[in-house]
């Protein structure tokens, strides 16, 4: 390792320094000026984003692709996700303003925790070694546990944090056990080494158990059935901006490492794990969508919906082909966009101190805020995968990938369940357009409008002109795919 290697880590270094600085500012005496916290955070995020670009350009000329004992890589896949995380966190920061003002908790700590979570996410997506991935994952998770309980005086919030923490710890234990078994069999934790070691193996019980435990731990993070039970409770109890964070950025991060580990580390045993993951995927789609139907609490409904979406995204990992990996990237992006938009609209609706949480808070929204009602429709259609929204493109790639790799039955379930999902998405539309009522008042701050407008524009634009994005994800996923297919060539 030389000093020049730090360029790989430059964005994370900057972000860590920035996050620490946010923590110290109130000690110096900026306590009163909570407002400036938002701007400082955004500036730090902006600098980090710039440094991602700078260091990725610097890395292009280097011979090695990974650094720090081959634990950390800055490849196009990682860059795509890093920028996506930065975007999502920036949006969450913008959405949090009202919540922080009303709850009277320190904004500095809050933003600092978000920044640390982001740092963990950016670190783990660059990880090409199970330990570096794990460390990043834990940094993200620990920050999330605290954020979920940020409503310190609210029982629901504390309870959510508690549940999240305990179950998260359990899942970490399982994950680590899986990692240790894999290490035992393969003799390395580096994904490339694991890949090499596995290419010569026939089958191995200990390895299978290891892979399954690792998979179970990751399934917890993406909230796939049967490891999903925490999701509705945590989503409901956490402060709404944090729910937005958990259901977008945090999930996207989990998808990214899921894809990286299974595409570049474990693909030799695809035949073995794909059937299990296919079952998980099918169960997630079925349980998530059917359970969402009966929910009246919007946060719980979206929690179940996000479980179902984890099932869709798994299609792309199971199929292990070019369509699939592109599908994962595309879908993650469009899912994040639509979800952020929905949370922004929800935050615009306020009933007392809690944001619009019930479906009937949306009654008659069309009359009170026609534009945001329209935006909400677009986001919901995008989640449902209806053209011309971006969601359609994402679902198209995932479903096509499943069909190509022989999982036709799974694609059929996915399509049927998408139809079911339209039922509860349209429930909100019906409430907005056909019902009367004004249970929740609309107070759209500038930041919320900005978030919703950006997400709306992107969702529509990518739905109508998806080509630039498709080209981008094709480029970003190439290396991961080449690895998987090269080694896979024998089959």
């Amino acid at each position: 390792m030389t000093w020049s290697d730090t360029v790989f880590l430059l964005p994370e270094i900057i972000l860590t320094l920035g996050a620490s600085a946010l923590l110290f500012v109130p000690l110096i005496g900026e306590r009163g000026a909570g407002r400036s916290a938002k701007w400082w955070t955004l500036v730090i995020l902006g600098i980090t984003a710039a440094s991602v670009i700078v260091s990725s350009n610097a890395v292009v000329g280097m011979t090695q692709t990974a650094t720090f004992a081959a634990m950390f890589a800055l490849d196009s896949f990682a860059i795509f996700f890093k920028l996506l995380f930065l975007f999502a966190i920036a949006m969450v920061v913008l959405m949090s303003e009202d919540f922080l003002r009303e709850s009277r908790y320190s904004p500095w700590e809050y933003y600092s925790l978000l920044a640390f979570a982001l740092c963990g996410m950016m670190f783990m997506v660059s990880g090409v070694h199970l330990i570096s991935i794990y460390v990043g994952l834990e940094l993200m998770s620990l920050s999330s546990y605290i954020l979920a309980g940020y409503y310190k005086n609210e029982q629901k919030s504390t309870e959510a944090a508690m549940k999240y923490f305990i179950l998260g710890a359990v899942s970490s234990a399982i994950l680590l056990y899986g990692i240790s078994l894999i290490y035992g069999v393969c003799g390395s934790l580096n994904l490339a080494d694991i890949d090499r070691a596995m290419s010569t193996m026939i089958t191995n019980d200990a390895l299978m158990v290891g892979i399954m435990l690792l998979g179970a731990g990751l399934c917890f993070k993406i909230a796939a059935v049967p490891f999903h039970v925490w999701t509705p409770d945590v989503y409901e109890g956490a402060p709404t901006p944090i729910t937005a964070f958990l259901s977008t950025a945090s999930k996207a991060a989990a998808f990214s490492i899921f894809a990286r580990i299974f595409y570049s580390g474990l693909h030799h045993f695809q035949l073995d794990w794909s059937s299990v993951l296919a079952t998980v995927s099918a169960l997630s789609m079925i349980v998530g969508n059917l359970a969402a139907i009966t929910q009246n609490n919007l946060k719980r409904m979206l929690a179940y919906s996000s479980i179902a979406h984890a099932g869709y995204a798994l299609l792309g990992i199971i199929s292990l082909n070019a369509m699939g990996i592109r599908g994962v990237l595309l879908y993650t992006l469009v899912y994040v966009l639509a979800n952020l938009g929905i949370w922004a609209v929800i935050l615009m609706l306020r009933r007392h101190e809690y944001a619009g949480e019930q479906v009937d808070d949306f009654d008659g929204l069309y009359r009170r805020a026609p534009f945001w009602a329209f935006a909400m429709v677009v986001f919901l259609l995008s989640l449902g995968g209806i053209p011309p929204t971006a969601g359609f493109i994402g679902k198209y790639f995932l479903f096509a990938a499943a069909v190509q790799s022989g999982f036709g039955w799974l694609a059929i379930i996915a399509v049927l369940m998408s139809a079911v999902s339209m039922f509860y998405y349209l429930r909100i539309v019906v409430a907005m357009y056909l019902k009367e009522g004004a249970a929740a008042e609309v107070s759209a701050s500038g930041s919320l409008r900005f978030v919703a407008a950006v997400c709306l524009a992107a969702t529509l634009f990518l739905g109508v002109l998806p080509r630039p994005l498709i080209d981008q994800v094709t480029y970003s996923s190439r290396r991961l795919l080449v690895r998987a297919l090269q080694a896979d060539g024998g089959r």
């Binding site: 179970a216 490891f227 039970v229 059917l290 359970a291 080509r467």
Partner: protein, 638 residues
Amino acid sequence: MLNNLWLIPIAPFVGFLINGFFGKRAGKTFVTAVAWLGSFAAAALGTLAAFEYAGQYHHGERHLNVIYNWFSSGNIGADIAFQLDPLSIVMLMVVTWVGFLIHVYSAGYMAHEEGYWRYFAYLNLFLAAMLILILGSSYLFMFVGWEGVGLCSYLLIGFYYDRDFAAAAGKKAFIVNRIGDFGFLIAMFLMFAYLGSVDFAQVSQRAMGSGIDGGLITAICLFLFLGAAGKSAQIPLYVWLPDAMAGPTPVSALIHAATMVTAGVYMVARTNVLYRLSPTAMAVVATVGALTALFAATIGVRQNDIKKVLAYSTVSQLGFMFIGVGVGAFSAGVFHLVTHAFFKACLFLGAGSVIHAMSGEQDIRKMGGLWKKIPITAWTFLIATIAIAGFPPFAGFFSKDEILASAFSTPYFPGLGKLIYVLGTIAALFTAFYMFRLFYLTFFGKFRGTHEQEHHLHESPATMTIPLIVLAALSAIGGLIGIPHVFGHNWLAEWLHPIIPPLPGVHDLHIPANVEWAVMIVSTLVAAIGLFAAMRLYRDRGVAADEAFERRSPGLARTLENKYYVDEIYGRTVVTPLEVGSRFLWKVVDSVIDGIAAMLGFFVRGFGDLLRFFQTGNVRNYALMFFIGVVVFMWVLR
């Protein structure tokens, strides 16, 4: 400019966006400025592009400007691409400049209307869509504009949406056009399926290739013509156009006379290779055109609403254009399209000026004697009337004459061609007659309106009269771009020649000089007969002549007045059975489907409730489920 053709439709589109979003709050001056600028920019950029094209291409090649690959899936695909060739340049010049004149006129005409901004926003949107229609390089992209102009037509017909009649007329136009669009779509599907492309050049190329079934070409042509008949108001789909007069008068001039309704003619001319490969389809086009020309002209004789007369006249003149493209005289059809745009826009705008002067009165029985009161309007109206009636050397004479002469000497179906010529000539006689009837009833005789109307009579403001004068001048001399060969140089035919490539084994149309002379003389005589008949009947006696006719043959008079009862027949034979069928589907079939769907929903909901059972909220139970999950995983993999 040639590589940025998208700027041309974008200019009015930006105008639409600005006026659409901010027009309501902004003042009228602002709205007018934006709308004028939008349409003027399109005209100026279009002219610039045309000059650049002429400088760069000398043999009428197609200039293709691909903006974006729209989609490609398997072996079908389409680009967002614009093209420039002699035909689209002709259309471009007519659409943008006539469009701009009508924008200018509208500022005066609509000055006192509610929803001024809405009107101009729609008008700009229309222009943008029309430009996509004529500049698009494939049937699919053309269809985008095709639907766009349909939408704007609907919006503008229903501009006075608080009047039931206008709202219904808008709906009628839209629905009738859907029938035509259905044909257009089927034609595109056939192209995709059998020719593998919807690009103009590629479709023509592949249709010429060997191994293409003649029946397929005929089918494509006939389905396309169904689309054209919808948009260009031909039998049997013409019924929407007369009702479309419910919109503001400048809209009738722009959309329902000069530009949009000629889109069908443009499309047939654009598809000339396919049509020439299928004489059957051409015969259908020419016959429908001839029948429409005559049929609508007879109705025009007994209409009393000034705009209705012009509407039937438009249907009739569109019929002439289809005769032209149908008998193989594609440049003659386009020529008539151009001259018709001049004189019909002039007539409609003149009618608008008359209506404006008459405080909203549209019934010509209540007009009369306006010659002295509104001289500019009267003179321009007269020039346009002479042009449409077909007197040399006004614009309409040359184009109509070329069409009739071509019909007489068409090589594709000589016998039928002669018959079409006869029908066309009779239609021309009626045209001269009803136009001069309209002219004399409006401008001569005694004033038959109320006192108040007489008191308010005034010439229109300059924003309205200047477009009238320009259009009248074009109606007078516009025909010189296409004078017959016997007189010299038919500039338009030569300009358009490259878009009609020679086909092996297909004889192209050639008009012998003696036919040319004979047809010209007959046409002039026919126009003179029409003029004199109308003058004798209506100049002095006015409406009394119509009443006398009604007394003599009441049955015929009523049939004509009620437009042969076509609307009623359609109502009985198409609309009512459809409604009965829909009601059956709704009340009987749908309730069965609903029942099944409701049952499904019930089961799904039940399952959802079942899942709730597992959501205890207890961390211990959650952790337990977690471990059960892991165990099941391992058991599966065992």
